[in-house]
Symmetry: C2
């Protein structure tokens, strides 16, 4: 029941292979174990959850990344290996060790990831017993299969791919992501794996990933809840031969392509948000400072009353006003305009004299809605993407054991 | 569909009369206009919403309270007179003026209140035309009728009453409240009127109200949304002849009675929260500081994922862990214990070895649930009361135009 069409086309990324297999953590026989392999010399940047309860694989991943560049990712869905204490750490390490022996790598060259139920021990032997099935399945063409293998309550895989010619060389970026609830700033129940064939220093790559995460995954919210396992990985194989570091113009072009791709991936998560029937962009424009624009955008996007009104296609600007009222910021409300689509509902802090309800009904009737708040007091602007709050959200989250 | 039984018994408060009447703002012919009258010499304390978009009656009320002690309150339900700009202010003033002429008081001795739909002009003539019907209906016994007259999506009135002998004199406190959604710290879609017959200086009364609001109405949350119209009023008529100011022991006794009454009123709002099927206390104990205890209590109480799990009677402590993980505080998660009722689900940051799911199912099976988080690192403690997130919450808020 996702909002809008999805495109599942992608380009392979030279130097990256992947495979997936059903190891039996999920009961329905679907693929729940995924592996990535990166060519030697690949460089990886990472952004992890800020949760105090970061899951065991996140802890292990952070350690391993400090030691060396990863050659392999091993990802299971169905169990988050979170809030599992020292035993959880040991379980993640066992998975890494087991894979390292199979592929002839060091354990620290392997980064583990888990997503699913919190607080249950990871069924390690199911994973280690299944790992050997992944190796013969490794292939450059398995991106979509991998995107499916990391899903939990997602209704469809998320994949975005871009190619561009830079300095006469064709370069590729392809990324997948999962996550449809527990989605909030500072990363979400979200796993994302992005790879490119350009060459970059780890330092530059990490800087680009930090910035692009902030413009994409950190600008979406489904339910204001943040997960223990969020991870976004960006790997550069260098196989294209284009070294982005050495040319500022290539660097800008590459970054723009990356950010565009990551925003599309992030929007893909919101489109498939649990129970979503609407895709909503909340824009706050002409503010005095970035921070208060973002705070206003989030307070609207996270308000259960605004979200239920959107579910009902009700142009209930009173609830938008109520939400803005919660922000601790110095805002001149007598200047404030509110739009849904192109329809202005509120002008200068009160109902627009030209507004009639039928205009609001019309503006709310589409699946994709933009709410714009014009503060008319500066040049700053922020946009956040979210979904509505539907019966289906409650049903999914009352029935599913995260 | 409120949680638990309600008690509608009350004591009259000498010096306070009230009346209600259907003025036709609500379409169903129920009482939607309420008036309070206080004997001359009464003293009133007030706490209003912190919303940037404070409604017109709140603005007018603030002004009037600065000028004199109120003798009358006039309250309408069905229309919030919020986000109505200068016209809204004028509308509220017109209501005050009209009532002042009828009763022979000054306009500034009247405090207006409104609750209901945001962003619509107040139908002033319906109110002014109906005011004369209130006067012959004024009586000391009409507390419950008044509690009904201020309701919006509430399914039942909230009234709490206490009597106590202090220094040989019998004193009374009686209060009513409304509000069942848009309920959050810093007051809610909440109106509350409390009166007592003790005598107190305005300064002392205001201090007591501030403190008691913080322990009661500012410790509840339904949906993290805050309204534009929240008001809590406390009036002391002095008719009992007991002057609380003059005796420290009486002062303490009176305050304790007031706080107890206000906590019960606040809990009454949560019990009748929109779509509530559970009444939930979230206790955070043995913390290092009050602030982080409260932050943890709120982040659990406001998490849509925790609330849907409670609706499903699912002892999903993984979601509690996820919610705690969002708090920006310095917490040693390896010490953390989590209980539902008396059942410990998590010990020292991971699953309690003695815990089995049937214990959690049992603990979740009741209508009233206490979640306890033991930080084991200090002496601070905070409790917040909330409800679950049900299908009914979505239905009510998708259908009702606030």
């Amino acid at each position: 029941m996702a909002v809008g069409e999805a495109n599942f086309d992608f380009h392979v990324v030279p130097g990256v292979r992947m495979a997936s297999f059903p190891c039996g953590i999920k009961s329905d026989g679907v693929n729940d174990l995924v592996m990535f392999e990166f060519v030697e010399g690949s460089v990886t940047a990472a952004v992890f959850t800020k949760s105090l309860f970061a899951a065991a694989p996140v802890e292990v991943g952070r350690r391993h990344l400090k030691q060396t560049s990863p050659r392999y990712f091993v990802i299971n869905s169905g169990n988050a290996n979170a809030a599992t204490g020292d035993e959880g750490i040991a379980d993640s390490l066992t998975c890494c060790k087991s894979l390292s022996q199979l592929v002839g790598a060091r354990p620290e060259e392997i980064i583990p990831f888990s997503t699913g139920v919190i607080g249950e021990r990871l069924p390690v032997s199911r994973i280690t017993d299944a790992l050997h099935n992944l190796l013969p399945r490794l292939g450059e063409n398995n991106w979509l299969e991998a995107a499916r293998g990391i899903m939990t309550t997602d209704t469809r895989p998320k994949i975005v791919s871009r190619q561009k010619e830079i300095l006469g060389k064709k370069i590729t970026i392809t990324g997948i992501a999962k996550g449809s609830g527990m989605i909030q700033p500072n990363m979400a129940t979200m796993l994302s794996y992005i790879a490119t064939d350009v060459s970059l220093s780890q330092h530059t790559l990490q800087g680009m990933l930090d910035q692009a995460v902030n413009k994409s995954f950190n600008r979406i919210t489904v339910d204001s809840d943040t997960s223990t396992n969020d991870s976004c990985m960006l790997t550069a194989t260098g196989v294209s031969g284009l070294c982005v570091d050495e040319d500022p113009e290539s660097s800008v072009k590459f970054y723009e392509l990356l950010e565009e791709l990551m925003i599309e991936l992030a929007k893909g998560l919101v489109r498939d948000a649990e129970g979503a029937t609407k895709f909503v962009a909340v824009r706050v424009i002409n503010g005095e400072e970035q921070k208060s624009c973002l705070a206003i955008a989030y307070v609207i996007a996270n308000s259960p009353l605004v979200k239920t009104a959107i579910f009902a296609s009700d142009a209930n600007w009173g609830r938008i006003v109520m939400a803005i009222g919660k922000v601790e910021a110095d805002i001149d409300i007598s200047k404030l305009d509110i739009y849904i689509g192109d329809v202005r509902l509120m002008a200068n802090g009160t109902r627009d004299p030209g507004y009639v309800e039928s205009m609001g009904d019309e503006a709310m009737s589409t699946e994709e809605i933009t709410i714009t708040v014009d503060l008319k007091s500066g040049d700053c602007e922020e946009t956040v993407w979210t979904s509505d709050l539907s019966h289906e959200y409650v049903r999914i989250n009352a029935e599913y054991r995260t």
